[in-house]
Symmetry: C2
DNA sequence: GTCTATATTTCGATAGAC
DNA sequence: GTCTATCGAAATATAGAC
């Protein structure tokens, strides 16, 4: 079948998502108009509605896609038995994964309050599932006498906050490689939780 | 002099700022309309312009006020000689100050990209000045052989990210007092940077 | 699938009466 | 100082031609 002139559904769709992600990260969801997204893609505003029912779905699909990717990547990662080795693996994974997609990380963190109630609950559930692995590692390490933390839940949130903070200053091509950054943060995490 | 009926400039002004802070924190600057702010205060939209030239100034004044308050409070704090004692003081101060004004903290962190270029530069300068004290403490501690950190700048940002993260989960009236939270975080900071 | 055109709403900000 | 009324611009989303 010959293609209708101007038909690009299979490539325009991803381009819409990509443009939305970039603009949401830069200016914020509420500050970005559908017309801006359309202009970035190179179509008129009306054409966007072939790819998303509305602006809210555009945001939600980006965030759910990011969280799904995070959990899938983590599920495929190596899981050493030793809590110390598992914690190092988690730490390095978290930094690497987040530095590889700064826009998605930024949007997923900053735009939570622009989700509808139902969409928010879904994203929160996925985030909780991710955090639960880290808390499990900490609990095992405490039980094994390797770690000394006052409260595994608080420590989980503190470690994730510290690690995710790397996205606020790291820029590719700077003086440190990702591997070097991983090592610096792993050093801090290891010392902070060790017995 | 008798007051003109409906004249409340001395109390309405702060109420406008308060309402804007609350709404910006909850929904985001771009998502909040001047009419919403006016409704929260109990006046019509036009009356807001007796207290601010425009919406941008409303945001900027809130953020500059918060940063000024932060730096002023820190300038009045005790500054022990010993780097370890200074670091503990800084840590406890940071947590206490931030937990006491969650809305201002949230807005000052999340709405940076909604500032005009000039306003952004001003706020960034104030934030940098605050971070510089922590980096100075770390440098002194390293020189004294008390601390072992790979990079004082990165450690500064990592520690602040971890500490500020407390605002994402702490709620007044929970199972932990602020003092207990301070102690838990100080334990992690101390271990993370110690030699 | 994309376009033009538009319905409908809402926005920031201002003018002028009181 | 606050109100009502409104201007001009921009927003989301839809309808229908091609």
């Amino acid at each position: 079948m010959a293609r209708t002139a101007g038909s690009h559904s299979d490539i325009t769709g991803p381009r819409v998502a990509q443009a939305a992600l970039q603009l949401f990260a830069r200016h914020g969801y509420a500050a970005v108009s559908m017309r801006q997204i359309a202009a970035e893609v190179g179509v008129q505003a009306g054409a966007l509605y072939n790819y998303t029912p509305d602006k809210q779905s555009l945001l939600f699909d980006l965030m759910r896609g990011h969280m799904d990717e995070l959990l899938a990547a983590r599920a495929n990662a190596a899981t050493p038995r030793d809590p110390m080795a598992r914690l190092e693996d988690f730490t390095r994974f978290h930094i690497r994964f987040h530095l590889e997609r700064p826009d998605a990380v930024f949007v997923s963190y900053m735009e939570l309050r622009n989700l509808t109630a139902g969409n928010f609950a879904t994203i929160e559930g996925l985030r909780r599932a991710y955090e639960d692995e880290l808390e499990g590692i900490l609990r095992e390490g405490v039980q094994a006498g390797l770690f000394a933390v006052a409260d595994t839940k608080i420590t989980t949130l503190a470690v994730i906050a510290m690690l995710t903070g790397v996205t606020t200053w790291y820029r590719a091509g700077g003086r440190l490689s990702v591997a070097q950054v991983e090592t610096i943060y792993w050093d801090m995490v290891r010392k902070a939780v060790s017995a």
